[in-house]
Structure formats: structure tokens, C-alpha cells
Symmetry: C2
Subunit: 290 residues, 2 copies
Amino acid sequence: MNIGFIGLGIMGQPMVKRLLGAGYSLAVYDKVEGRGQALVAEGARAAASPQEAACDSDVVITMVPDTADVEEALFGRQGAAQGLRPGKILIDMSTISPVATVELARRLGEQSCEMLDAPVSGGQPGAVAGTLSIMVGGEKRTFEKCLPIFKALGTTVEYTGTHGNGQKTKLVNQVVGALTLVAVAEGLRLAGAAKLDPETTLRVVSGGVASSWMLTRLGPKMLQGDFSPGFRIRLQHKDLRLAKEWTAELGMPAPGTELAYSLFTRALERGLGEQGNQGLYNLWEKELAR
Amino acid sequence: MNIGFIGLGIMGQPMVKRLLGAGYSLAVYDKVEGRGQALVAEGARAAASPQEAACDSDVVITMVPDTADVEEALFGRQGAAQGLRPGKILIDMSTISPVATVELARRLGEQSCEMLDAPVSGGQPGAVAGTLSIMVGGEKRTFEKCLPIFKALGTTVEYTGTHGNGQKTKLVNQVVGALTLVAVAEGLRLAGAAKLDPETTLRVVSGGVASSWMLTRLGPKMLQGDFSPGFRIRLQHKDLRLAKEWTAELGMPAPGTELAYSLFTRALERGLGEQGNQGLYNLWEKELAR
């Protein structure tokens, strides 16, 4: 099966490697030139445009930062939609607006193509190890056709219902994850302010009911001062903005989402946007403490 | 070695069982009569007062709800301090004020007894399985003497420094845990409000970076409507009050602690105090949504 893959960033690159390893034939594209080189050395074919990545493919996957990037990759100049023949499938694994997702699925449907929204959780380590959590929205039979692809990328693969439900599930994931990260950052700052040994505190808290992926994976990075991006603050902020708008539409009180959004907004304003989301730890120093 | 154990609640009972299983001889006491009966059947000796639990013991352990309960158990009428001979050790495994802890250690020191503060995390399942996380403050040599006892109760045992540091570490743990629980409750409510399948959402979010003990252990209880107490909202609220006071003393900004405290306060006001802390989930219905 031929796959076109658009978006070769922190997540896209290791995902392409997993798919190559599973025996798929891949045409890869990124609007930043040169990003595909290492993948070509491993057997992928470089495409000069999204259209070219799509034209010989049974399935096209997009893995790009935001709603506008997916729209551009599909319907922009030399977009993938121009290359997709009827009956082919577009899987958007980016995290974007659920509302925009439904509209994109409709437009692709007009040219007899199917679409799945299939955002992921698990970060770069999950992408490298093929242990992502994948939440899929769209037609069930399309999901079933693509299941082998998902199984090559992740260990937890769930069908969540109609178009957009994958993105909605991802927003729930982002709310839970972001607020858990706030908990970790504030807790470790509190340990420091109290002159407790932060490493000991991290170890013992990790052994009990307050443990989380954020604590055990990003807690050590906070204490080591490693703020390199697995997932950027700028993107976490974008997801929280989508979540906040969504809770407002639903008329649902969401004090946790609001707190996380306001803290990530402050982090962005303070120039921390390109740090990994564990960089939220720096906010207690830079802004909150004044 | 003889151990006196005071406080036979949700946590104390299984902890006594672990210690009996490890071969210790135990005298047990609870101010609620009859609570020790099942333990006597397993080989513990019932004591009629804290003093009696202490008088033949090398080590006395207190596991009670709050600061005042520890003070009463030690220095109240027929308190344990009256039974403790010089050189003996008091281990307080309750979660209480770090400031009060230092004062209790001083008073016990006046009668040549040593004290450790050794609060735990891991909940009732951790107490039953002997997999608690234990954070210990006090003299290092006293800690080392008591290490076999801690090893019978927990898998993560850490020495955190001087008197009160165990309690301070526990407060960090409570802040991280409570806010992680807020994240879980709000996330699952959001899934429900969006008409996503909550079980599917829980499964897929548990597979990614938003996963936590709170999500995987208390998330299912929220969805099943099981609000029986492992750890009560009333006590979680008490711990958050201590944490909030402490962050104020430290002059540390703590927006996460404040949010968690305000939500648990509302839960308490709404009569949810005796539910397990997963009952916070009910707040979105009862209060926030009005």
C-alpha cells in the first residue's frame, strides 16, 4: 500500500520511520525543504508538493501544526486534494479544530474521498516507539480499512465515532494533560521554595497517587533544566484555546481549562512558546513571582 | 519488635495487617470502639488507650485524620506519650501540619523519645498491597532504625530531611494529586458534555501523555458512579488548606493550589465531604453548572 505523508516535524519523522519499518511505501513532503532527506536515505520517496505526495497514494496522512496548515496541505496550491483520486483516504493526524474537520471531510467527500481525523497522544517518545494513543473519528468502515496503519504507529487505537470526534477526544486529552502539567510544575516549584530536595520529592511523589506521565517524564526535565521541545508551549496553547472555545460553546463550566489556558497564555507572552511544554515550569520564576 | 498502632481507619487497618504479616507484634487502638476486632482475630492485641498501646512498645505509629487527632493521641488523656519510655520512637504517618510536627517532635524530645513524620501516598490499594510511597522527616539514624517497618508498608521509601520535611513533601504530593484529579474530573465531564463515549475517551486518554494514577484508578469510578471513600473529600480539603496556608507563608504564587482548594471547598459546602475524592466529579453537576 502506498502512503503519502505530509509534515515531517518532531512527530512526523519518527512516524514515517515506523511506517517504513512496517513495510509501507511512502512519498513524503514538508514545506520546509530538506526535512525529508534522512527519510529518503531510509527508503522514502521525496515529493515536491502535497499533490505529488498524494497522486500515487492509497492513503495520505497529514501531520502538521494547526488547522490552517491542514487546509493549506489539502486545498492550497498543489494541494493533496488535487492529487487524491476518488475512493482514496485522507487521514489527518494533526490536532486541529473539530468544526474545521467536519468541513474538510465534507469537501473531500464531494470528490468521493474519505477522511478520518486521527490525532495522537504519546509525544515524540511514543512516536519513536510506536506506542501512540490514537483517537479516530469518521466512517467506521474507513477506520477498519486503516487499522493496520494505526497499529504500526500506536498501541491504543480507539474508534470514537463520527467526523470530528477524534479531534474532540484529543481536546479532552489536551485539557487533562495540560492541567496535569500545571500540577507537576507548581508542585516541583513548591518543593524548591520549601527547600526540600526536588529530586527526592519527585521520586517519592512518583511512587504514589499523584503520579502521572507528566510527572515521571517531564518532571525530571524540569529539574534538569532541559526545556527542549517534545511538544511546544505554542501548540499546547493553541489546543487549550480550541478547548476553551469549545467549552464555551457547550456552556460547560471549565475552571481547570481556564486556568491552564491563562497560564499557557502568560508563558507565550513571556517568550516561552518554542520551549517544550515542560517549560511552563519557568513561568513561576519569570512571571508569577514577578 | 513490639509496635503500638493508633488509628484503625481505611488506611490503618490494612497497614496493621501488613505489619502482622511481616512478623511484628502489635497492640492496636482506635477511639471508635470495635474497629480493632478483625485485627485481634489476626493476632493483634487490643489496647484500651493510646497509653496502653504505647507502654510495651518499641515504636508507636499514629495514623489518624488531622493535627488535633495526633495531639490528642499523644498528649491527651491516657495519651501515648505517657506510655512511651525514654529511647522509644513515635512515627506519625498521618498527614498533618508541618509546623505542629516540629513542635510535637520537640515535646517528645523532652522525654527522650524520638519522632519521625512519615506520611504516605498510595491510598487504600497501596496500603493493602504494601506499595505505599512513604516520605520521612526526622533524624536520619532514627529513620534507619525504622526502615524495616517502612519496607513492610511501602515500596518507595525516602528520607526527606529534618522534622516536618516528610509532611512538607506530603503537601507537595497533595497539591499535585488534587490538581491532577481536577484535570481528570473536568476532562471526563467535558467528554460527557460533548456526547463522546466516556469509557472510550478514558481508555484512549489513559494510553497517552495525559495519563495518571488519578485517571486510571479514579476515572473508572467516576464513570461507574462509585463514590465510596478511598480518601475522603473532607481530608483532601484539609490538606489543601494546609498547602494554601503554606504557599502564602512562602510567598509563592500557587494558582493551581488555589483552584484545587476552591473546588474542594465548594464540594465540601455541597455536602460531598464524606465521598471519596473522585466525588469531585459530582461538583460539575451540583454546583458549577448551577
